[in-house]
Symmetry: C2
């Protein structure tokens, strides 16, 4: 038997579902990077990491984005050039027949090889870096990854809209969660139901993190004492996890009446991230949890009262710590004992671990920065408790992009 | 109001749910790496990447695993040492007060600083590498990442059991999928329902890949022409995705009657991976799809007829290509046109992109290797079709770990 080849013979391409990134966004981002390149006396940057590629080109194909210190950027694409052309607003998208063709293509189409080149050394593995340098004979490389991270910390109005759309997704998932919570569910089972709703609404699944070895799957949906397990993650809470192989997140623990359920959920939609925490329970929450939650809200309000452009991260951090200490919960704030982390929030955008880090740093907040503020407490033997919203820094202070009501939701037992 | 501190004041730790890795496993793996170190005249390896840490220590805490060429391995842990001690069968687990303490700790507890040290240069970012070398004054580094990848390609009986458990999970999810498929669902909605079942059964969520920029979320659940979109991924199929930010996976497309649904699902349980594809539809599959599926099964049988220890990957690869060509589907095999990939399978284990790669390579199969074999066809305008099973290489040939029936499942319309 010979199978009949299919009738249709056109190209296998299907239009992507979402709107391509506006050309003006990409142009402004590239222009801003070019200022950095000129300040640093670099001839060009070659961008290769997915989140950075998407930021500067609107597509994440296998490619090298060449950004000269002056002039037009060129996207050299190994796979898939068809898709890159469809998705990227850049005018110069060039097909590359394998990585070795990069050298000749730069000579022919990008004004020659750079002598001083900026690479993303904070994320590029050593062997990939050496291979890339081998394609740039005579070039000397410097890190531009950290400069890109600093640039990306300040969001454009377009990006703030995208993050607001992710925030709307997590608001909707939170609204849905109490409807599927019931006695007898394991953490894993409850997470699956909530995650299915997030998917239905367009959660992209993949959560990007820049830090080496950092991993995250939808956030941390943790119940009772599971929420208090120590972890390798740079987070106040991480959970027991299903096994030591991952060592974070949900477990097979059955959710019990009165367990504080920390609903810490990361929404990612069209690349952009919002981070969110609310409290949920089956039946009434213990008083200690309600009281600590009130302190978390008070810490959030203290931050909102001081945070505006020009204020340092340290001032913001200390305003929250002061509330926790004044209320007698300093030893439980952002973890317990040796597990305490020394920050109360982090930037979010195309990656979950962006700038600013709200810690004891003298870096000032800037207008357009977007961060998740997450005052949380670990109560040994009981669980964890906290609130988290994603805020944008505006001229006069913070504006919340996550907008769901903050009151804990207690699902009646037997519902 | 001062919140009442919680009554319980013990450590916040909770036992992990799963069994720790057997000590004999870790000992054998470390001993095998030590053979490599001695062959390469390296004094020690310092392992830091999550999958490798789990492989050699049974835990993925923030740590450095020091493996000397001779003698006992030591796990130096920054966070969380409590959890590392609970999870790792290694006897020497030492707390480290920040990364800078590593230098002194190696001098005091590991027989001094290595002069020639093996690092995972295939995954370690350049700046992290430079920071690590700064902690090892006088040391010269060589890559051991690729040697570790080669070592990890051959699985122990314990590991094969773990992969079989992951395979049982995906078999169960496949059994469940037709029960929730119905007209009107989008790809994203259907994926969410199936993923929820996977979570309930213990899917760990996080899928680890070693390749730079490679990402995967539960696999590729693709329907009709969505399955034919070109992609940056090193896979025959990738999907349209929800936006250019991810550019793979499910979309908002509504599943239509007769669409070939490629149910390509990656199960990961307790760290170990199984990869799997079957065909599903609402109503009858088109004849062209059924015929191509028969060719995929024939290609799989051709591989099974030749694959055994000592046979090269090239022989295996060519046996499948020959079937596709003989049946007139060579131009559609493993992608279409410029999008064809030149492999028919890949190793799976703690990462999805392991060795062996079933391509035109002269590397021989070895007993204990585990790979996913995925003969697939892209039929422009129609969709994609294929089968995938996870096999272990035994002395006499292949044994399938994924065991679900291979017959396509056609869900009656209006069911």
């Amino acid at each position: 038997m010979a199978a009949r080849p299919p009738a249709a013979a056109g190209p296998p391409f299907v239009e992507p579902a979402a709107t391509p990134m506006p050309a003006a966004e990409v142009e402004a981002r590239v222009a801003r990077l070019q200022v950095t390149l000129r300040e640093r006396e670099l001839d060009a940057a070659l961008i290769v990491q997915n989140a950075d590629l998407f930021y500067f080109s609107g597509t994440v194909q296998q490619s090298y984005l060449h950004v000269p210190a002056e002039g037009e950027a060129t996207l050299f694409v190994r796979r898939s050039v068809e898709r890159a052309r469809c998705e990227s607003p850049l005018e110069r998208v060039v097909e590359l027949d394998g990585p070795r063709a990069l050298t000749g293509a730069l000579r022919a189409l990008a004004g020659g090889l750079p002598r001083r080149v900026g690479l993303e050394l904070d994320v590029l593995p050593v062997t990939a870096y050496e291979r890339l340098l081998g394609l740039l004979p005579g070039a000397e490389a410097e890190d531009v990854g950290r400069a890109i991270v600093r640039q990306r910390a300040v969001k454009s109005p377009y990006e703030i809209d995208r993050i607001a759309a992710a925030a709307a997704l997590v608001d909707a998932v939170w609204d849905y969660a109490p409807r599927v919570l019931r006695a007898g569910l394991t953490e894993a089972e409850f997470a699956g139901l909530v995650e299915a709703e997030a998917r239905r609404l367009g959660h992209q699944g993949v959560i990007r993190m820049r830090g080496f070895n950092q991993e995250m799957f939808y956030g941390q949906l943790l119940t009772g004492p599971s929420a208090t397990a120590p972890s390798f993650l740079d987070t106040p809470l991480a959970g027991t996890g299903l096994s030591p192989a991952v060592a974070q997140g949900v477990s097979f623990r059955t959710i019990a009446a009165g367990d504080p359920i920390v609903f810490d959920f990361v929404a990612v939609r069209e690349g952009y991230t919002a981070d969110f925490t609310r409290m949920l329970s089956l039946g009434p929450l213990p008083d200690a949890v309600r009281q600590a939650y009130a302190v978390a809200l008070e810490a959030q309000a203290a931050v909102a009262a001081v945070a505006r452009p020009g204020v340092t991260c340290r001032t913001v951090y200390e305003s929250a710590v002061a509330v926790a200490e004044r209320r007698g919960l300093g030893a439980h704030f952002m973890g317990c004992g040796a597990e305490q982390v020394r920050f109360i929030g982090h930037g979010v955008g195309l990656e979950l671990d962006e700038l600013p880090v709200l810690t004891t740093s003298d870096a000032p907040l800037e207008e357009g920065m977007v961060f998740a503020l997450e005052p949380k407490f670990v109560l040994p033997g009981v669980g964890a408790v906290g609130v988290e919203n994603t805020f944008v820094v505006e001229r006069d202070g913070l504006r919340a992009l996550t907008r769901a009501p903050e009151e804990p939701v207690e699902v009646p037992l037997g519902a």
